[in-house]
């Protein structure tokens, strides 16, 4: 266990920060530009995982397990969330037979 910590600490914290920020941004931009909902949901997952990475790094540097506990919670919740999301998507596919982001825009103004 201890050596894992040290292994993580080999890389300086800034790098973790930068990396997760990059991942986060990639996810965000992806969510913005892509129109296929499946991909957008994957991008959202990417954002969440960047957060996970960050949390792990922090927990290692603070040598405090709380961060990793949080990661598990996030994974769990994200799973639930995606389940719901996909079911909504299925419903949508059934109603409009399309998975395009902006196919549904009756509600506006």
């Amino acid at each position: 266990m201890e050596n894992v910590m040290t292994a993580i600490r080999v890389v300086p914290l800034e790098h973790y920060l930068i990396l997760s920020f990059l991942l986060f941004s990639i996810g965000m931009v992806g969510a913005l530009v892509r129109r296929n909902i499946i991909i957008v949901i994957m991008c959202l997952e990417l954002m969440l995982n960047s957060v996970n990475l960050l949390l792990v790094a922090f927990s290692a540097y603070h040598s405090d397990p709380g961060g990793q506990v949080m990661v598990f919670f996030i994974m769990l919740v994200a799973a639930a969330e995606v389940t719901v999301g996909l079911s909504i998507l299925v419903l949508m596919k059934r109603n409009t037979d399309g998975v395009d982001m902006n196919i549904l825009n009756r509600l506006k103004w």
Binding site: M101, L104, N105, L107, K108, W109
Partner: protein
């Protein structure tokens, strides 16, 4: 003392009762009853004031009725001041008033709204009495405005004729312009003296140095009020139009009493004016100018009442000229005599108009001396009086004024004498055109009933012998009126005739001679007229200007009436409908516009929403970064 209080309150109370009673019972009162009642009450007031007059003791009595306005340090009682001046005016108002009431019974006989007429006439008498009896400026001002209202009502008495209504409004508004001066003068005096009671103000005034700016301002403002009420330049154009009212009204309000309120006011506050020589000069020259103006315009008027109106303007000018040189007694004397003969002239003219069934154009009259004898004789006496033929009343009063102006400024004297000649000219022109020659009209002239001729006779007697009131020393008289007024009015006894007797004789002779000359000239022009040739087409410019009353009305129309209407229309048309309201409406519309624009953000596209959120985040992040 109680008796005096009672009488003093009774004097204005009786006409007021008349006004209320007749006014509210005007449907019940049939036939002449209204007239009788009104006349009786005014007569009663006359008797009361006569009793007061006879019982006078040269002292000034204040009759305190009740506290009117009492707030902060301001204490304005509702009180009457009984002294020689007010008593004298009360006599004139009630005396002449009762005569004219009597006359009106006949004159207004067939008018359906005769009761209303008498109610308003009584109301006028009440207001006039308040005016002259008031113990402070504000009480006087009550009467001042009251007579204005009554004059407005009575001028527009025949309200179905738009011109008459216009004339009434014109009279009221012009008076109001004068009242601005009056109100401001009162505020100023209250600010200065802390009181408005005549007695107190006159006491305190002594402590002010002559031509103190405050006093000068106050007096000028007071005089502005006077010009409005007494139809002096520049506020005189309402008086001729006021002839639209029934003739008795013209006699009572616009000749005998109301128009002399201005003179009364100046005399009442003589102390202040004595302290303001500058104002006195203004008064003198405005008076002189007005005298000349009225006299000139009178020359070519063809409406008999218009002629009399301008003659009134001119005579009032004389009185103010007198006040301007500080000859208060002379002024009041002329007020009195003028009240006699001018009232007589109007009533006589009224009797003529009555005789001709409403005809007022002297070109359509003539030769009436046979058909309406009494009227003719009385009219003749009055004309001689106003022309200033000795020994009629007008001679003495006018001569007093001329003499006192001469010693102050010979130039003014010259103008006034000239105006006197003009007076003689236009008065005799009227006389000749009306009663001499042969009748040029179509109606069937007939003498008026007794109820109308009796007042004529009484007034004729008065205007004949009225001069006896104030016979100057050179005739061995004792200037009784002057002495009497001296007990009440400051500076009257101070008037001393510096002229040598010989100069006075010479002046009298001169003016009389000139007047007689004029009369002879007039006789040659109009005396024998049987037919009247219309105005020659090519009148010289000056004559045309004068015939058009020096274009004063037109001038005011261009200067004031039209611009005011224009302003009123455009302030509304532009200021309100184009600016104020659109601004409020516009702000609402603007909000809606912004809303319409903002709601376009809500495109309904999920990607756009994501983008918007991210944009927000980025903006906030940047703020965080750069302000950190």
């Amino acid at each position: 003392m109680v008796k005096l209080d009672l009488l003093a309150i009774l004097v204005p109370a009786l006409p007021l009762l008349g006004a209320l009673f007749i006014g509210f019972g005007r449907r019940k009162l049939k036939g002449n009853s209204a007239g009788m009642l009104g006349t009786a009450l005014v007569l009663g007031a006359f008797i009361c004031s006569l009793i007061l007059f006879l019982g006078r003791d040269g002292q000034t009595h204040i009759v305190h009725v009740f506290d009117w306005i009492k707030v902060g340090t301001m204490d304005i009682p509702f009180a009457f001041q009984i002294d020689a001046l007010s008593l004298w005016m009360m006599l004139i108002v009630t005396g002449i008033g009762s005569l004219i009431h009597l006359y009106s019974i006949g004159y207004m006989h067939d008018d359906p709204r005769v009761a209303t007429f008498f109610a308003q006439l009584n109301l006028f008498t009440f207001s006039m009495l308040l005016l002259v009896m008031g113990a402070n400026f504000l009480i006087t001002f009550i009467g001042w405005e009251g007579v204005g209202l009554c004059s407005y009502l009575l001028i527009g008495f025949w309200y179905t004729t738009p011109e008459f209504n216009y004339a009434g409004r014109k009279a009221f508004v012009m008076n109001r312009i004068g009242d601005v001066g009056m109100v401001l003068a009162m505020t100023l005096m209250f600010y200065t003296f802390g009181t408005l009671n005549y007695v107190d103000i006159m006491d305190q005034a002594g402590s002010f140095a002559p031509s103190n700016p405050l006093i000068i301002t106050a007096t000028l403002l007071l005089f502005l009020g006077a010009t409005g009420k007494s139809a002096q330049l520049p506020l005189l154009t309402w008086l001729p139009d006021a002839m639209a009212g029934p003739t008795p009204v013209s006699a009572l309000i616009h000749a005998a009493t109301m128009v002399t309120a201005g003179i009364f006011l100046v005399v009442r506050s003589s102390v202040l004016f004595e302290l303001a020589p500058y104002t006195q000069d203004v008064i003198l020259w405005i008076g002189v100018a007005t005298a000349l103006f009225g006299a000139t315009v009178g020359l070519f008027q063809n409406d008999i009442k218009k002629v009399l109106a301008y003659s009134t303007v001119s005579q009032l000018g004389y009185m103010f000229a007198a006040l301007g040189v500080g000859a208060y007694s002379a002024g009041m004397f002329h007020v009195t005599t003028h009240a006699f003969f001018k009232a007589l002239l109007f009533l006589a003219a009224g009797s003529v108009i009555h005789a001709l069934g409403g005809e007022q154009d002297i070109r359509k009259m003539g030769g009436l001396k046979k058909t309406t004898k009494t009227t003719y004789i009385t009219f003749l006496i009055a004309t001689l009086a106003i022309a200033g033929i000795p020994p009629l009343s007008g001679f003495f009063s006018k001569d007093g004024i001329l003499a006192s102006t001469f010693q102050d400024s010979p130039f003014a004297y010259g103008i006034l004498v000239f105006a006197a000649m003009l007076t003689a000219f236009y008065m005799f022109r009227v006389l000749f055109l009306t009663f001499f020659g042969s009748y040029r009209g179509t109606a069937h002239p007939h003498e008026s009933p007794k109820v109308m001729t009796v007042p004529l006779m009484v007034l004729a007697v008065l205007s004949a012998i009225g001069g006896a009131l104030n016979i100057p020393h050179i005739f061995g008289g004792h200037e009784w009126l002057k002495v009497d007024l001296g007990t009440a009015v400051e500076g009257v006894l101070g008037e001393h005739m510096a002229l040598s007797a010989s100069t006075e004789w010479m002046l009298m002779a001169l003016s009389t001679a000139l007047v007689l000359l004029t009369i002879w000239y007039t006789w040659t022009l109009f005396g024998k007229k049987t037919t009247l040739d219309g105005e020659p087409a090519d009148m010289p410019f000056l004559k045309r200007l004068i015939a058009k009353r020096w274009m004063l009305d037109e001038l005011y129309a261009v200067l004031f009436e039209k611009p005011f209407g224009w302003l009123s229309r455009n302030l509304f048309g532009i200021g309100e409908t184009k600016v104020a309201v659109p601004l409020t409406v516009g702000s609402g519309k603007a909000a809606h516009g912004v809303a319409e624009w903002l709601r376009k953000m809500q495109t309904g596209n999920t990607s756009f929403y994501l983008f918007g959120m991210m944009l927000g985040v980025v903006v906030f992040l940047l703020i965080t970064l750069f302000t950190a």
